[in-house]
């Protein structure tokens, strides 16, 4: 005679807590007893017990996840951050570290910890479309978290950890599915994009049901304190009071906070911001070596001819800057390779009206190109690579130079692979793998974009230089980043008596770009470039200058304005009313804030 027992037996311990006894196992046991089997193996029974024992969460607040990810060694500030989010912020936090300190690692640690503890299963990660695959890769490779990119509708329901772009998720039919779920964990990368309450993105995210929530952003305040308020409202509505209360208590003007101590205290309960300057990250050193080269006679003739050509066109156009900038590119290209300048000339030829006398001039330049046999820079580069005798990245601005270099290296028995922005993800990954495992040299035209972490290499050769300092910094940043254990060596090739020489002077001596990481380079440039970009100013300078000395003094001027903008920013930051100063307290692990928290 059998009674089926109810699947759950609930007993009260005290006014705070009840015990739920799960009884689903019992009916199965009774069935097996009645049928006298089948019985499981005694060894497997023991192993099951041992497996549970090994994974037992024996303490409320020790970090268990580190034992599960032996291949990853998080930095101390990342571990501190994870602990603080788990134990003090209760799993709802804004991770606002400055760029490059590893917010993704922190989020991964927190997610992994909750998963190991069985507190999180269903997870949604919303990121910009371009970062979806990178997140999937990092969670899988570094954390062993089986994250899946949302591609088909069934992924929403069938996969536990889904990475999707917010723009996809907010559209039907996805929207309805996502809002119908309950997520144990919601992670949003680049969360500053949610600063405006009225956008569909904000409203969509606000409707998602979630238990724990992490918002990642390096810039929690860009312009306005309200942005921060809106972010916190997503996380913990009421943390800073209602909107009216917030404005009355904490805001003088949209960029000016008041009652900063209290604001900082409130913020420190929901936000962690580690800074590069806090000394929690040790970067290796950078060594810069400029290598001046002299063009061969043929190359010099080409350079001079192209320069004359550019000047003439500029005068003919009655100094119309807009259409002339592309011509300066020709001068830059000559300094890189004859292949680069050839491609541009051919295109220019095609665009020029059939009977224009300019066509003849272009043709003359092409003729000069034909006379050039060797590439001074490429030979020097090869010599360098042989001396380095280790992995190296060669950056160039031009695809034609890239192709030329790959072939040139091949002829000289140096294995190299190309890398450029236009390649699809799979091909990029493949090139990375080849570089890591087989090739000595990577020839890259692109430094930006996600997913190229090249810490295993510490030599960079700038075959030519971008005129935008941010792009230079991006190049170096691919190698000089967290995880780089060796000092980074940067070689800048420049040709004497060309515009390249001037640019290098500006970037190296005036802006001092190579030796140190300039904090907030983007902010400085933003201020400097109020009317037009640095790059545009340089183009103008080159076109207008009558002589080398003109260029030199122009470069001097630009360098000076950069210095001033930098000093101005530094001064502002020491003033209490700089909006970002409101962020100074949270999450910096110094004694002053050690006691803050619930």
């Amino acid at each position: 005679m059998r009674r089926t027992v109810s699947p759950d037996n609930i007993r009260t311990v005290n006014e705070h807590v009840e015990i739920h006894f799960d009884r689903t196992w019992f009916n199965e046991l009774e069935t097996r007893v009645e049928k006298n089997g089948p019985w499981d193996d005694w060894t497997l029974y023991q192993l099951a017990y041992e497996a549970e024992q090994a994974g037992l969460v024996t303490s409320f607040d020790d970090l268990q996840c580190l034992a599960h990810i032996p291949q990853l060694q998080p930095l101390p500030h990342q571990i501190e951050t994870a602990k603080k989010v788990l134990n003090e912020m209760r799993g709802r936090a804004i991770l606002a570290d400055e760029v490059g300190l590893g917010k993704t690692i922190e989020a991964g640690l927190i997610l992994k910890e909750y998963m190991i503890r069985g507190l999180v299963r269903k997870t949604l990660i919303l990121v910009p479309a371009s970062l979806v695959l990178q997140w999937v890769r990092e969670l899988n490779q570094k954390f062993g978290i089986p994250a899946v990119a949302q591609k088909k509708a069934y992924v929403w329901t069938q996969s536990d950890v889904v990475v999707a772009s917010i723009d996809t998720a907010k559209r039907e039919p996805h929207r309805e599915i996502v809002l119908g779920m309950e997520y144990d964990m919601l992670i949003i990368d680049e969360a500053h994009k949610l600063k405006n309450k009225k956008t569909t993105n904000y409203r969509f995210v606000n409707e998602i049901r979630k238990k724990y929530c992490l918002l990642l952003t390096a810039t929690p305040i860009q312009n306005d304190l309200n942005e921060l308020y809106n972010l916190i409202t997503l996380l913990k509505p009421g943390q800073l009071g209602g909107q009216g209360h917030f404005l009355a208590n904490f805001v003088v003007d949209k960029r000016l906070p008041k009652n900063e101590d209290r604001l900082q205290q409130e913020l420190s309960q929901v936000m962690i911001r580690n800074r590069r300057g806090d000394g929690n990250v040790e970067f290796t050193k950078r060594h810069v070596k400029n290598i001046p080269l002299t063009l061969s006679d043929e190359e010099q003739i080409l350079y001079d001819s192209v320069t004359r050509f550019v000047k003439q066109r500029f005068e003919e156009s009655e100094r119309d800057f807009g259409s002339m900038f592309s011509l300066v590119t020709l001068q830059r290209e000559v300094c890189s390779s004859r292949d680069a300048v050839f491609v541009t000339l051919v295109n220019l030829f095609k665009k020029t009206p059939q009977h224009s006398p300019v066509r003849q001039k272009i043709w003359e330049l092409v003729e000069i190109i034909k006379s050039i046999q060797a590439n001074t820079k490429a030979e020097k580069t090869m010599e360098l690579i042989r001396d380095i005798n280790d992995k190296a990245i060669v950056f160039t601005e031009y695809r034609a130079s890239q192709e030329y270099l790959v072939n040139f290296f091949k002829q000289h028995q140096i294995v190299s692979v190309p890398y450029r922005g236009g390649m699809n993800r799979g091909k990029k990954d493949w090139m990375m793998d080849l570089f890591r495992n087989r090739a000595q040299v990577l020839v890259a035209t692109e430094a930006g974009g996600e997913g190229i972490n090249l810490q295993f290499c510490n030599h960079i050769i700038n075959f030519d230089l971008p005129w935008n300092p941010m792009r230079v910094e991006q190049r170096i940043g691919r190698v000089h980043r967290l995880g780089q254990t060796k000092d980074v060596k940067i070689y800048n090739l420049s040709t004497r008596g060309t515009i390249e020489e001037h640019i290098l002077t500006l970037l190296h001596e005036k802006i001092n770009l190579f030796e140190t990481v300039i904090g907030e380079l983007d902010t400085i440039l933003e201020r400097l470039e109020k009317s037009s970009s640095l790059e545009t100013n340089l183009y103008k300078l080159i076109l207008e200058s009558e002589s080398d000395d003109d260029i030199r003094s122009g470069i001097e001027r630009i360098g000076q304005t950069f210095k001033e903008a930098k000093q101005e920013l530094e001064k502002e930051k020491t003033l209490p009313d700089y909006p970002d100063s409101a962020l100074d307290a949270p999450g910096r692990f110094d004694a002053k804030n050690a006691e803050v928290g619930p």
Binding site: H16, D22, D41, Y49, R90, R209, G242
Partner: protein, 311 residues
């Protein structure tokens, strides 16, 4: 778990599931799976359902588990081993249905089996699924086996409980309890006690089992009751604190939405109210303290009578 513990664990699993060890070192093992292990570890449900429907001869996979990647790298011999050939059975059907890598190139898939690795998680899941219910008999000592007198056996219900103390955080405990279905006596640390005995799945000759006075169900209720009493003696400050946090969070939300509802236009009120309700539910979900007791595995242990003396 350290590499050597994991190695021992995995080797016991492979042995218990009748896998064939092809090669082993302290750092690795190369193994040809038994059908049981193959089903549990290779994610080839389609292949196995095909084999079962057609009765074709199954071709199981071969795999190398690396317990200590560092040591594995240091030993240059292993480079060859990685690509070592494995005798292929030449089964055409097998090649057709999923074992192409082994049959053609002879390359053996290599998995790192460290703590936290997916492979080990998979093996953990496999033992948890296949090591749930057992029924064992204590093997009599030599002289008793030959004795003319039938020896009496008492049946014990052994249960390994997992206790989870949950709020927004979590702590766990294992409680292994056994109850004699003859006398109702309860023993703690039952599992380690069983490990010390010689147990077999077969009823030894010349033995009889004393009929118990307790039903299984009664045993279950008694064990739960015992555990409940134990848990009640704990300091449940953690739960009080979680309640406190939940209260504070709810108060914060209340004040935020109360203000908002007061000033909102009538059209917007239902929407805000809905959001309010959702936020409240989230907080309960996150913080509400509770104790969850589940069972890892359980079984019947037939022990020679008077075990109490031995405890």
């Amino acid at each position: 778990m350290k590499p050597q513990q994991i190695r021992k664990f995995v080797m016991r699993y492979l042995e218990a599931t009748d896998c064939r060890i092809i090669e082993k070192s302290p750092a690795h093992v190369t193994v040809k799976f038994s059908p049981e292990a193959d089903k549990a570890l290779t994610n080839r449900s389609y292949y196995w359902s095909f084999i079962e429907r057609t009765g074709a001869e199954p071709e199981t996979m071969t795999c190398t588990f690396v317990f200590d990647p560092e040591k594995m790298r240091q030993n240059p011999d292993n480079d060859n081993k990685q690509a070592g050939t494995v005798p292929s059975s030449g089964s055409i059907l097998g090649a057709y249905f999923g074992i192409i890598p082994t049959a053609f190139s002879g390359r053996v898939a290599q998995d790192i089996v460290t703590y936290g690795s997916r492979r080990l998680e998979q093996i953990f899941a496999a033992v948890k699924a296949k090591g749930k219910y057992i029924c064992l008999f204590e093997e009599p000592e030599a002289q008793k086996r030959t004795s003319a007198v039938s020896s009496g056996y008492t049946t014990w219900l052994g249960v390994n409980f997992k206790v989870e103390l949950l709020c927004d955080m979590k702590r766990e405990e294992l409680h292994s309890l056994g109850i004699s279905l003859a006398t109702g006596e309860i023993v703690e640390q039952f599992h380690p006690f069983m490990l010390a005995k010689r147990l077999s799945p077969r009823l030894p000759a010349n033995t009889h089992i004393t009929r118990g006075s307790l039903t299984l169900h009664k045993g279950l209720v008694q064990l739960e009751h015992h555990l409940e009493k134990r848990l009640k003696t704990y300091d449940h400050d953690w739960a009080a604190k979680a309640q406190e946090r939940m209260g504070a969070e709810l108060a914060r939300i209340d004040s935020y939405y109360d203000d908002m509802l007061k000033t909102a236009e009538d059209d917007n009120k239902p929407l805000i109210a809905e959001q309010y309700a959702n936020r409240k539910a989230e907080i309960e979900w996150q913080y509400r303290p509770r104790i969850q007791v589940s069972v890892i595995n359980c079984g019947l242990f037939h022990l020679q009578s008077e075990p109490a003396a031995a405890l």
